[in-house]
Symmetry: C2
Subunit: 250 residues, 2 copies
């Protein structure tokens, strides 16, 4: 029920010094302090520490964290939902950083050209800052994305949409000897893009992620590979190009 410093530090994967520091700055006070001066942490402390670690993961300063979790109208569950959203953003940032890596490799191998600006894309996103403001303003946020409900379509519509998807994939296979960046192929990507919107409003990042996924995920890749051995890589290149142009245009 009550944890000592070492016990909690082992559990949470932080150093004892860190816990003492958090006590010192009033960020995480122990639930009780024994006669001997020992710190004892309770259930609630654990939850609070978890919150602190989540915010730390998102690069908040301890001062900011203290303000946030110390606020009287701090809602743990709402905060958790916000964390989820922020981590998804982090994740997509990582994905875009991976794209930057890919581009750089191609560039260094002389297979592609790259502007100096592109070297440093996606390192520091200001979205993180936006999130910080947002959360300081209001803790209760919905965090539910506007994902169109598939079941809102009639069975006939569903069948039609699926058929369209399949036909798009077949069209890709047909053009597989073309350059993925050619106009013809790019047109098919545009159709694919349109089709996605039956499900949700796809962001550029989201689509890039799909391209990645199509080529990486074995289950998916298997499906495409069964249509054509190199289809996944072809799709990846084509979608990447498409997204690149989108970004340039916007």
């Amino acid at each position: 029920m009550a944890y000592t410093v070492k016990q909690l530090s082992d559990l949470a994967g932080v150093s004892p010094r860190t816990l003492r520091h958090y006590d010192a700055i009033g960020l995480l006070k122990p639930a009780s302090c024994g006669e001997n001066g020992y710190r004892y942490y309770s259930n609630e402390s654990l939850l609070r520490l978890q919150q602190i670690l989540f915010y730390r993961e998102l690069d908040f300063s301890l001062e900011e964290i203290k303000e946030i979790v110390g606020s009287p109208d701090f809602d743990v569950i709402a905060a958790l939902r916000a964390h989820k959203k922020a981590m998804r953003q982090q994740r997509s940032r990582l994905e875009r950083l991976i794209v930057t890596i890919d581009k750089t490799i191609l560039h260094l191998e002389g297979k592609r050209n790259m502007s100096h600006k592109e070297y440093f894309e996606n390192f520091s996103e200001e979205k993180q800052r936006k999130y910080a403001e947002e959360i300081r303003q209001r803790f209760g946020d919905k965090a539910f994305e506007g994902c169109t409900d598939w079941s809102s379509y009639t069975p006939e519509q569903q069948a039609a949409i699926r058929a369209e998807i399949e036909s798009i994939y077949r069209d890709f296979v047909e053009k597989i000897d073309h350059d993925p960046r050619s106009a013809e192929v790019q047109q098919i990507v545009a159709r694919w893009h349109q089709n996605l919107r039956y499900f949700y409003e796809p962001s550029v990042e989201g689509m890039r992620g799909l391209g990645q996924f199509y080529s990486e995920h074995p289950d998916f890749a298997a499906k495409f590979r069964s249509m054509h051995p190199t289809l996944p890589e072809f799709l990846l290149e084509a979608i990447d190009e498409y997204c690149g142009n989108l970004t340039g245009a916007v």
Copy 2:
């Protein structure tokens, strides 16, 4: 061709002070130093700075970075591939953190029980450290995952494997009224797990990612939802449980 401090700092999204600091500690020396004492950075500097930022992103200390990028046998492209791998790990760690968030929410809502240990799962992964050691030992790493080549199967085998996958999905639908954590359902998950191995050796994280993906990605979710409206969520829960047990066992 030559960038001044401010120009490079704007380009790369770091402060001028940071650049001066990197010069001071010998991490990033300017290509040339003008009569007036001005720092001028070249093309190569840009690439080096990019490398530095990548390592910084992975929480290396500047001292470590200096050692690594300063090493005579430092191979940029190999390093980039290693970055890619490390960032994928980061990404999957984030995904698991999101799972931890979900669990905590369910726990707080009283819909699920959670051990104190679970509170802090996936915050600090020691894999990061493993990567650090690995990269310090040897820069030239292959970074190509052992992904079984789908085309190495005969068409008949491919068909059989796909058929097996489909049958597994159908079995899930059949048991959809059961508890996802029941033994019967877990057995099907085990079959699914086995089947994955035709494609690659799935890690626990990888599988958890799949569960997430099945329920999140619209294209995939659509496929499953067409089989049963709540199949994606069912799969997510079932796979999550399965992975949880695996981790516990190992």
